[in-house]
Structure formats: C-alpha cells, structure tokens
C-alpha cells in the first residue's frame, strides 16, 4: 500500500501537541468524536447500519445463509465477520484480496462479538446436525479518518441488533419472509486507543494513528466483562495503559450503547 507522505510530516504536530496534553482537534484524550448511527438502510440486507464517527464512515450489513453445522457442534449456527478496505475510503486502499490489515480488523471485531456470546448460536440452529444459519456480517470502510476498529464494531453491532432471521420452509430460505428478529444476549463494543509517546488516546483520527507507536483495543459488555483485547503495531504498552484503557472503555461503550 502506498502512503501519503505528507501525513508523516503532519504527524509530528500530533506528538508535539500531546506533550502538552492536547489533541489537534481539541478533544480530551478519552473523548470520542461525534457518533451517528443510521440503521436498517438497505432492503436486501437482513440488517444494516451506517456509522459516522467524526469523518470516519463504515457500513455494515447482515445476511443469513443456510449451511451445515460443524460435526462437533451439531446444534449451533455461527457468524462470519469481514471488513473490506475499499478505495472509497482512502486513495491508499487497493483493490484485491483482503489485506492483512483488513483481516486483523475483521477478526478482532468478530472475536468481540463471538467470545462475548452476544449471539446465541443455538438459536441459529434450524435442524440439528443438518441445517444451521450462518450469519455474515460484511462491513465496508467508506471514509477512513482513523479508528476503523471501533466504527466497524459499532456498525456490526447496530446491524445485528436490527437483523431479521429468515423464515425457512422445506429446508430453504423463503425470500423476503422472516421468523422474527435476532435476539442478542450481550452488546459488546470495541474501544480502541493509540499510544503516542506516553499517552493513550481514545478514538484516533487518521493523523493520530500515523503518529502512534502502539494500538490497543478492548471489547466490553454491559455486564462488566471485557470480551476481547488486541494490541497492535510495533510499539509496546504498559500494564497501567491497559488498566486505564479498560476503565475508559467501560465508560465509553456505555454511552455508545445508548445510541444503538
């Protein structure tokens, strides 16, 4: 992937400002950008959402297909989560098979949802050992101004909360008919931080991400669990950074959850 060389230059300003505790857009270090969630926007999707987080925009849609269960889990359906980084979002995203970056984002969002047991996989069983639903959560980065992890996580959850489960007859999905809404047991949300110098900042812009040495994501649930961690990039973080991130994450996710 090519890169905007100017970004590196501007990133130094981020570092300088943060030394005085300031962000270029005047936010506090633990402050989210303005968040807008639009739901149920596409008819062909069983559930859909568009998330606007500052200038970052991500779209998510849910489709249910019939599949066969894993032999060792005959009565459980499953989900599959993916984000594509397409040139709409950035001149530096390229066409082609999923990049390493998109695979990491996809898997971290997937784990946050899957490991919190947000979706009751047994409810996705249609006929034990024979047919189960596979829920596909497909996300597209539409505008990239940093923190695609959180924007994707919110979009995925928003699309899931609205998702309708297709009606099945004669072992086939009946197009356009639904047996009801998917019920979520938990609402896990990711909160992602950048470490710049010795400071951890929440919800980085693209410019801030350019200045970051390390990235850290925490998924939290409404019943006070963390359901996923992911440290990224070549820098390191400290235990204190993690503790602080967890505290902020609980607070932040609680606010976001109200908007879902």
């Amino acid at each position: 992937m090519q890169k905007d060389m100017l970004l590196d230059f501007k990133a130094e300003k981020v570092v300088t400002a943060l030394k005085e505790g300031k962000r270029l857009d005047a936010r506090k270090v633990d402050e989210y950008r303005e968040l807008k969630i639009e739901k149920d926007i596409y008819q062909n999707a069983e559930g859909s959402a568009k998330v606007t987080l500052g200038n970052t925009e991500v779209i998510a849609g849910v489709k249910f297909l019939l599949g066969t269960p894993y032999p060792d889990m005959p009565n459980e359906g499953t989900i599959s989560t993916g984000m594509e980084l397409i040139p709409l979002a950035s001149p530096y995203f390229e066409s082609g098979p999923p990049s390493t970056a998109s695979i990491e984002i996809s898997r971290v969002i997937d784990r946050g949802i899957r490991e919190s047991k947000a979706v009751d996989f047994e409810k996705l069983c249609v006929k034990q050992g024979e047919f189960v639903f596979i829920g596909f959560i497909d996300m597209y980065a539409i505008n990239h101004d940093g923190n695609l992890f959180d924007a994707g996580s919110i979009a995925a959850l928003a699309a899931l909360t609205e998702a309708k489960v297709p009606k099945v007859e004669d072992e086939k999905i009946v197009k356009g008919e639904y047996s009801g809404k998917l019920k979520l047991k938990r609402k896990p949300l990711l909160s992602t931080f950048s470490k710049i110098g010795n400071t951890m900042i929440l919800d980085s812009t693209l410019l801030e991400e350019t200045a970051a040495q390390a990235r850290f994501s925490v998924a939290t649930t409404e019943d006070n669990f963390v359901s996923a961690f992911q440290k990224g990039l070549s820098g390191s973080i400290k235990k204190d950074d993690v503790d602080n991130a967890i505290d902020v994450a609980f607070k932040t996710a609680k606010e976001i959850r109200k908007k879902l």
Partner: protein, 289 residues
Amino acid sequence: MATEKEEKKVYVNKKGLRLDGRKIDETRPIKITAGVLKNAKGSCYLEWGQNKVLVSVQGPREALPKHTANPLKALLKFTYRMAAFSVPDRKNPKPGRRDIEISKVCGEALEKSVFLEKYPNSQIEVWAQILDSNAGSRAAALTAASVALADAGIPMKDLVTSVAVGRADGKIIVDLNKDEEDAPDAVDMPIALMSNSKEIVLLQMDGLFSKKEFDEAFEVAVKSIEGIKKLQIKALKEKYESKEFEQASKLSEKALPKQPSNLLEKDLPKQKVDQKTGQKKEEKKAEVQ
C-alpha cells in the same frame, strides 16, 4: 418456485400502470448527491429506486504497474463491486465474471467523455460500490460515476447518462425492476449516452427483441436519459453552490472541481412528483420519476 396454476402477472394494467404503479416511460425515483466522500478526489451517492450506489474517483496519479502506462493518455480504471448484502442471496466478495465484464464496459463507456489525453502516463480510478440493488445497478453505477468524475474536477466533453429499457409482457418499458426482469418474455437493454451528441457509449441487450421493439425502446431510453441528465447537473450545481463547498475551497489544499460551465447551463427539471415508494424530499437532492 412457480406453481402451475399461479395467476398470470399483469405487468402493465389497463390504465397503463406497472406492478409498482409506474407508467411505462417512468423511471423509479432517482436522487443524486455529488461530493460525499472526503478522501476521494470526486464522489457521488446515487439512489435509484432500491438501488444505492456510492462512487469514488481517485487520481489522476501515476499509472501502476509502470509498464501499463500510456504515454498518450490516462488509463481509466473502472471497478463495479456489489456489497455482499446488496442482493437477495449473499454475494461472494470475490469478483465474478459478471463484475469483471460490467467493470470493463462501464469503464469504456466513460473514456470518450473525459479528456484523458490531458494526463499522459496516469490513471484515473473509479470505484462503484453497490450497497443495495434491484435491477438496473449498472445504469445507476455509470450515471453516478460520470457525476463523480465531474466532481473530481476532471475536464469532460459531456456527462455520460445511463438507463435500462426493455420489455415485459409485450410492453416496452423503461427502467425495469427485478419483478419485471423476471417476466417470461423479459428483455433488458442497458444504454448509456453522451446526450449532447447522441453518441451511444454503452449498449448491451439480453432477450429476444424485434427491430421494431428495439427502435421503440431506444426512443424511450433517449427521452428518459434527458431527464436523468438534468438530475446529474443539478447535483453538481448544488455541490458547487453549497456552503460546505465554499468553506472547503478556502480551507483545503485539495484540488477542487472547477464549475463545469457547459454542463450547468440548463435549469433544473420542474416535474410533477408521482411515486409510490415513500421518499423523503431533501432540499439538496435531485429527484425524478
């Protein structure tokens, strides 16, 4: 799927109205907004009935890989991609043969409209992402792409405007929806024109058409394209006049679209709104039916 005694669908009723209440020469509602993506040189969001498409233009920039560069003109690379959830069955994210062919013909349809010779050894990348669909997505993508190219400030001879015409149950109709495309005798014919010169830049067809039917369909298409083109121009004009644009002009170093004066001479369409789908009217969006 079909039971034998299934009632025969009436695609055009005695009042001349179609399944969704449209007249035979009436397109579904179209809304066009230019300049919606901050990281793109140019962009366009277009809703056309249930179809929703978002187009970005990146470049002109160096053609890569280098051996593909043309010293006489820019390459125009068009990518048509359907979101996985934009169709009734989930679309496999890997592009199929249909995606590749549509990308090819849509890219070729745009080439003549752009002064590619201004940018030797460069490439202009157009990406059209279909977010929801219901027949006619390539016409929607192409129409939006031409607006996005203009929004990118790339010099153009004319806009490219597209629509599909065809036949259901013996009647020539414009802008077929999925139900109509599934008619037993359905014909689908996507067309794109540079309407100033009436040049055909895209023409495809599937089905069994007589010469007479083709002539009739072509005439309907030309008329329809005139209306759609006004919406393209209106969207560009709105972008140019918008506050955001003015502010951006002052603050940003980004190359901004110059007012494409030849495109904006005509006034906006003043048409009666007559539509079934509950559609919000927003001041800044163009509509047609």
